[in-house]
Amino acid sequence: MVTEARRRERLDRGIKVRTERLYAVSGWQEIAYLVVPRLVLILGLLILPLVMPSMYWQKVMVSMFVFGLLAMAFDFLAHYVGLVCLGGALFTGIGAYIAGILNSYFGLPLVLTIPIATLGGGLISTLLLLPCLPLRGIYFAIITIIFPLAVPRIITALNIWGGTEGMTVPGVLPNVWVELYLILGVVLIVLFALRRLVNEDYGLVLRGIKDNDQAVKASGINITLYKAQAVFITSAIGCFCGAFLVHQYGWCGQSLFALDFSILPIAATVLGGVGTLVGPLLGSCILVPLVEILRAIHYLRITFYCIVLLAFIVFKPEGLMSWAQRKYHQFEHWEKV
């Protein structure tokens, strides 16, 4: 049997080459090539809440964006800095408790609690994770697994802040539109800010740390400091999500340390495409509504995330977004070898 040897040849589209650097503004076609995908994303996200049929789906959208944020944070930390965080729930939990305590014990308004929870929570998380930052290997993953499982126990043991029952938070966001557009605004800002960040020199250093930390260190750069800053950015995003959820539910409890907040962002990232930042958002926009539709498997939802995750990691490790980007930028044809 003779098998014909073929391979796929991929070539960049001419227009992609023409839109690099300054030439991007040389004509309307080039501008459109660059702007249309971004505009579709931004406008699509902004319009989506308006076309949603019911309150129920609007609520689903809110949680979709929350998970999208968490997933982007995970993607940033894992694929640009090389730190795999298996316990994103730690960040949401810390942010949630800070916001909850400030609001219910000290009566601070929402405008203050959310920023304080974001920054303060980021700081606390970074300090908690600081001991393992000078190390490489799997230490960071181990530590982040342990924390979200241990912290709720400590809260139960001390029986503080509502213990196992949680506490009621008086301050809630006024209505679903505020919720939606607040989280949507943050999603878009974080998305484009992170994209900008990783393409700056700063991002170059972070990627250097991921690929070859010895070389970065040899250049006289303090790796631990950079890692700590990256962890701060990630955990601040996570803490924002926690604080936001507290003010959405009007309640703050241990379920904010739940496994969902750790696993779903990872699944969304792998599904959407690792290292693309917009991919994770896309991934959570697919996964969250899917689970809502498949309500019958509600108890199995974590299993479902894990199976999606495994399937993609084994069979399609590049994810959806990388695939789409490739189709957009390149054309391919079969070629005899």
Binding site: H79, I138, I143, I146, L149, A150, I263, V274, L300
Partner: protein, 276 residues
Amino acid sequence: MVLALTAVGFSFAYGVSRLPNFAHGAFYILAGFATWMFVRELGINYALSIIISLIILAVVGYAMYRFILIRVRGMPISEIIASWALGVAILETLRIRFVGAFFTTPLFIEGTVKIGGVPIDLQRVVIIGGGVALVAVIWLVTHYTKVGLSLRGIAQDERAAMMLGIDSDRAAAIALAIGSALAALAAVIILPVGSINVNEGYEVLIHALAVCVIGGLGSWTGTILAAFLLGFAGILTGTYIGTMWESVVVVVAIILTLIFRPSGLLGRQKELEERV
């Protein structure tokens, strides 16, 4: 000793193949439930069902390497995510079937013995004896059999071992199979004392990871030493402060270890490799 039993499997697999098996706790629980089902629902002989579940778990570990981890080998991010996802998937699926009620397996030997005036269950004696025997067997196997020597060769220098004709993939698969079987063994020995519970799976994983970090990843003597230290620390806090604080002790111990002795108590030789 309980801690040493659960941790030694993780340490074994990681030490040989550098694959962190985050599904370890899930395998432990899976073995417990498998044994329980064989004994209580299918009515198979107890000894036989233990052997069957050990074999099943070894096969599961092997399959996990063959079908999942082999594709992501060498990509640490994917390795961690894949094994953790598998572990969580197993645990959360088991949660549906085995909800609420307490499941426990019968004791090997009924009765107690008195040592120094303190009555001790014979099962606990079995645990200690089993632990010692296990460590001895592992030591003998890795030092005197061909498979064991090849595993150690891979652990020390993968490329050199491959040049000498040792199949790295096969060794890693065997290591994972043995590691999973060790998790199963720990489960069947320990579970008659307590009861099986899905949440235990996370607990076991945490403790195994903690012991491995404190003892030095991949160092077996360190693992055993750390297991004893952590076990005593846990019991002391349990008696004097409160059982709720045991998990706090674990976390504090890990953090202190990472600050003062990052490569663990006995993990000296890897200091250069792991420290940036």
